[in-house]
Amino acid sequence: MSFLEYRVKTAPTGLRKVLHLNWALVVLVSAVSAIGFLVLYSIAGGQMALWAEPQMKRFGVGLVLMFAIAFVPIWLWRNLAGLCYGVTLLLLVAVEFFGTVGMGAQRWIDIGPVRLQPSELMKVTLVMMLAAYYDWLDPKKVSRPLWVLVPILLIVVPTFLVVIQPNLGTSLMLLMGGAAVMFAAGVSIWYYAAVLALVAGAVTAVFTTRGTPWQFLHDYQYRRIDTFLDPSADPLGAGYNIMQAKIALGSGGWGGKGFMQGTQSRLNFLPEKHTDFIFTTLGEEFGFVGTLTLLVLYGLILFFVFTSAMQNKDRFSQLLILGIGANFFLYIAVNMSMVMGMAPVVGVPLPFLSYGGSVMLVLLIAFGLVQSAYVHRLR
């Protein structure tokens, strides 16, 4: 499908596009980010400069970026999908050689003043690539083995590069995000059944090789899994993070301890309190009311994302939006499960809340694409 097929005339042009943005999403994203600023301000002990201010600046930059991307016609993005994917893949390879080690893994690459996490960017460009691929592919052929193999390769290559960083959380998200796009594109569920069976086998393999020289995961990752299975067994060691996170969340109760009153975060009992575990501080200070509000806001964002996908008649747009929505959901689900003691600690940030430049920018870029697809949808 070429851009000629879009009925360009019915799509808004110029500044009129502003009126046709999905403003509900803009407001919701801003609201969640605002909650993030509030919590970051509180964790820093009432200090703006430490975390809240940089985060706001990034949000501002990201918002501009989002609008810019939204104004670019979606078909242009479709045509650029292959290029974006290729560049990100190259960046991932570059990280292997020139990356900065942080948190025990190679994740960042310094490009001038920007510190970039290509693995985060890959979440978006992979979705773009897959959506473009399925847009190109005859829908009747999606379940044919050869045509299934191509997207699998598109997913597995970057995933492999992320795994060896090593970054388990992101690689899992790449896998599941990619799988979600394939699912939306209509790939037969039997493939999924087969993959599930394979995964089950792999898990068994991973655990049976544990302790041998050819074990698959790092020791710390094994330990994290152990901890997940029984965090209380080692409350001062490996289980400390999860235990303290649960204490923070639980002690908030219904209404929380109040803004800036969280003892767990203020006294440093919480690990990674401003990044991956930010949700616990929210829970401690604003209680169940606060966490549920956040969950509802996330739910609304997902709702608007999904409806905008279903309203859209363009296949690339649909798959792109659904892929981004699935990724967004994965962030939330993995992070929350992790801090609430339902999943191993794998280092996935909470979207728009966790402190971190790459994630914030990538998310806003992704929402820019969603907006672009929304603005330039077939009417």
Binding site: A184, K246, G250, Q264
Partner: protein
């Protein structure tokens, strides 16, 4: 390649179906997350809230400051001094060996110290501070503080520690404190949590132990907020404890010191008691020891030195030592006879130097005998035969009863360790103890304070005080607690005929002040302070026939540990008694030559309130006494102004 609109719509519908499926799955996951939030924050909230508080808040006990012990004039006997110590925490030290090595260049540390530290470090958790050096000199302490950056994990600390400025003078009375041991804890049914504070000190013996509850006070506590690594962020709440109550003893530290020095190297005890109130003015046992050694944790070598000394410095001979009272007991026999009506003050007996009973001959100490003696003469010259005769008529039970009335064979309740009850035997006692009948020979022995009778210097002092006043004087050691004076009612009368008491007192007067008195050489010459007394010499064992054959006739020929004990009891002034004294010099020989001079000096010291003036002594002795007193003055502890302030 173009697709039909129908194809496109088909595929779009298909995507929408899949989208709905995904949306449904996501929604379900959100429901699970929401439920989990509810579970944690609502259902388990209380539990987690508690855990959060436990995380955050630590309770710390504030050890109370131990009460001071002062003498009757407020002079400090036991106080608390600042104690600088150095600790090391393995966790923070990193390379422990390197740090210890650097530390040993800064402050004196022996190889033993280092060995102990290494052992302690191994035994304890890495975050437990181990004491490297205790009682560090200020200079060394400052050096460590200065070098802190190169000594990770090393912390200079300041604490309070017990200190006994008068060293050995009160070692037996006041005792000492030491770290709480497992045994201390086991003895208590409900141990005060403050005892679990590391380095907390508890009274081990003496007043420190027996008045522990008064001295300890109660712990305060503080609730502190700590962060994840245990650093104290702020104090939330502080409840001050109550410091222990100060205790003022009845003992005068200066008199105590004088007597202690006077006893010198002897293995001896001397008790001075206020006859009107029962207040112990001095209660000494020589040799003493330095209680500060025990507070610090005594070294094995120091301890064995103390244990192996045949003069037994650790024993509190004044209350713990039980000695045959010897002739000092004649006072009791005489009173028993008078009260029983067996004799009057005028009754006389003839002393040929011995009496024969059955096939046994009981000697008087004087070979030729005393001739005809009445009560006064019998005391004055300490005639044994008089009492042999009298005792047979009175019987042991009456004598024992009188002994108990005079405070012998009775445990006097004082806050000191190992107070002996002594032995005041009667027929029943012998039957119970030995399963034998009481024999008349036992009575004869008992009449002169030999045989089964045992009494401590404290009991003898009480006995004299009772003889001097006719009142049931009870010894007292504590003058006030926490500034509140302990009530000291006038002791009740003993219900002994005044004329009988006077007769005995006259006899004791004669011992000192008559021409033939056994202790006339130890008399006080000052008319206003004349003293009365009674000597005693108690045999540790008889001189055997074999020894006699070898030419051993006197004590001086025997090895020290087999010589007689020298005893003396007395009071002064004779006409208006104020102080009574009892002195025992272990293996000292004769009571009149060894014990009586000590007792005289002690009484004079108490009566005059200073070094005894020379004119209180008989003119003939003054030259020698002056030399002695001067030598003694050299050794006295320099009197300091009363210390009442807390450390």
């Amino acid at each position: 390649m173009r697709r039909t609109a129908r194809d496109s719509e088909d595929s779009a519908r298909r995507v929408n179906r899949r989208a709905l499926l995904m949306g449904g799955a996501f929604g379900a996951m959100f429901a699970v997350l929401g439920a989990r939030m509810r579970f944690l924050s609502v259902e388990q909230a209380d539990e987690f809230r508690l855990l959060a508080e436990e995380n955050r808040i630590n309770m710390r006990l504030i050890p109370p400051e131990r009460g001071l012990i002062q003498d009757r004039n407020g002079k400090l006997v036991a106080g608390n001094e600042q104690n600088y110590r150095v600790t090391i925490t393995r966790e923070d030290a990193g390379d422990v060996e390197a740090v210890l090595n650097r530390l040993s260049h800064l402050i004196p540390l022996t190889q033993d110290d280092l060995e102990r530290v290494r052992k302690d470090i191994e035994r304890n958790s890495p975050f437990v501070p181990i004491i490297v050096a205790d009682r560090v000199a200020w200079d060394d302490f400052a050096k460590i503080a200065l070098n802190a950056p190169t000594l990770p994990g090393v912390t200079p600390e300041v604490g309070l520690s017990r200190h006994y400025p008068l060293v050995e003078d009160f070692s037996h009375v006041v005792g000492y404190v030491g770290p709480v041991s497992e045994r201390d804890l086991a003895e208590l049914t409900d141990p005060d949590p403050v005892l679990k504070i590391p380095k907390f000190q508890i009274g081990k013996i003496g007043v420190e132990r027996w008045m522990e509850d008064t001295l300890r006070g109660s712990a305060g506590n503080k609730r502190i907020e700590v962060n994840a690594v245990g650093r104290v962020m702020r104090e939330l709440e502080r409840t001050e404890g109550t410091p222990g109550a100060d205790i003022q003893l009845t003992i005068d530290a200066d008199i105590q010191n004088f007597v202690q020095v006077r006893l010198g190297d002897l293995s001896a005890a001397c008790v001075v008691i206020d006859v009107n109130t029962g207040e112990l003015v001095a209660c000494t046992s020589a040799p003493g020891f330095d209680p500060n050694l025990f507070v610090r944790g005594i070294s094995q070598r120091d301890y064995s030195t103390l244990m192996e000394d045949d003069h037994r410095p650790l024993a509190n001979k004044s209350v713990q030592g039980a000695y045959p009272p010897g002739s000092t007991f004649k006072v009791v026999t005489a009173l028993a006879a008078l009260e029983a009506g067996v004799i009057t003050p005028e009754t006389t007996h003839y002393c040929p130097g011995y009496i024969e009973f059955g096939n046994r001959r009981f000697h008087c100490w004087k070979h030729g005998g005393h001739g005809t003696v009445n009560l006064t003469r019998s005391l004055e010259q300490s005639c044994d035969v008089f009492y042999y005769e009298v005792a047979q008529k009175v019987g042991i039970d009456a004598i024992a009863a009188m002994g108990k009335r005079m405070g012998l064979g009775v445990r006097h309740d004082l806050p000191m360790s190992a107070i002996t009850e002594g032995i005041m035997p009667n027929k029943e006692w012998k039957q119970e103890r030995w399963g034998q009948d009481w024999r008349i020979g036992d009575t004869i022995n008992a009449s002169i304070g030999q045989g089964y009778i045992l009494a401590s210097p404290l009991q003898l002092a009480v006995m004299v005080a009772r003889v001097a006043t006719g009142r049931a004087v009870e010894p007292r050691l504590v003058k006030s607690i926490g500034g509140k004076p302990v009530e000291m009612p006038t002791p009740p009368l003993l219900d002994i005929d005044a004329s009988h008491l006077r007769a005995v007192q006259a006899g004791m007067d004669a011992v000192m002040n008559s021409e033939r008195g056994t202790a006339k050489s130890s008399r006080i010459a000052d008319e206003t302070m004349l003293m009365a007394g009674k000597t005693g010499t108690s045999q540790v064992r008889n001189i055997s026939a074999a020894e006699r054959a070898r030419g051993v006739t006197s004590n001086d020929d025997l090895p020290w540990e087999r010589r007689d004990h020298a005893l003396f009891v007395g009071f002064a002034p004779v006409d208006a008694p104020r102080y009574a004294v009892a002195t025992v010099v272990e293996h000292g020989g004769g009571g009149s030559t060894v014990a009586a001079p000590i007792a005289r000096d002690a009484l004079l010291r108490a009566l005059t309130g200073g070094i005894p003036p020379l004119d209180a002594y008989p003119a003939a002795q003054r030259g020698r006494i002056e030399t002695d007193l001067n030598a003694l003055r050299e050794k006295l502890r320099v009197t300091t102004t009363p210390q009442t302030t807390r450390a």
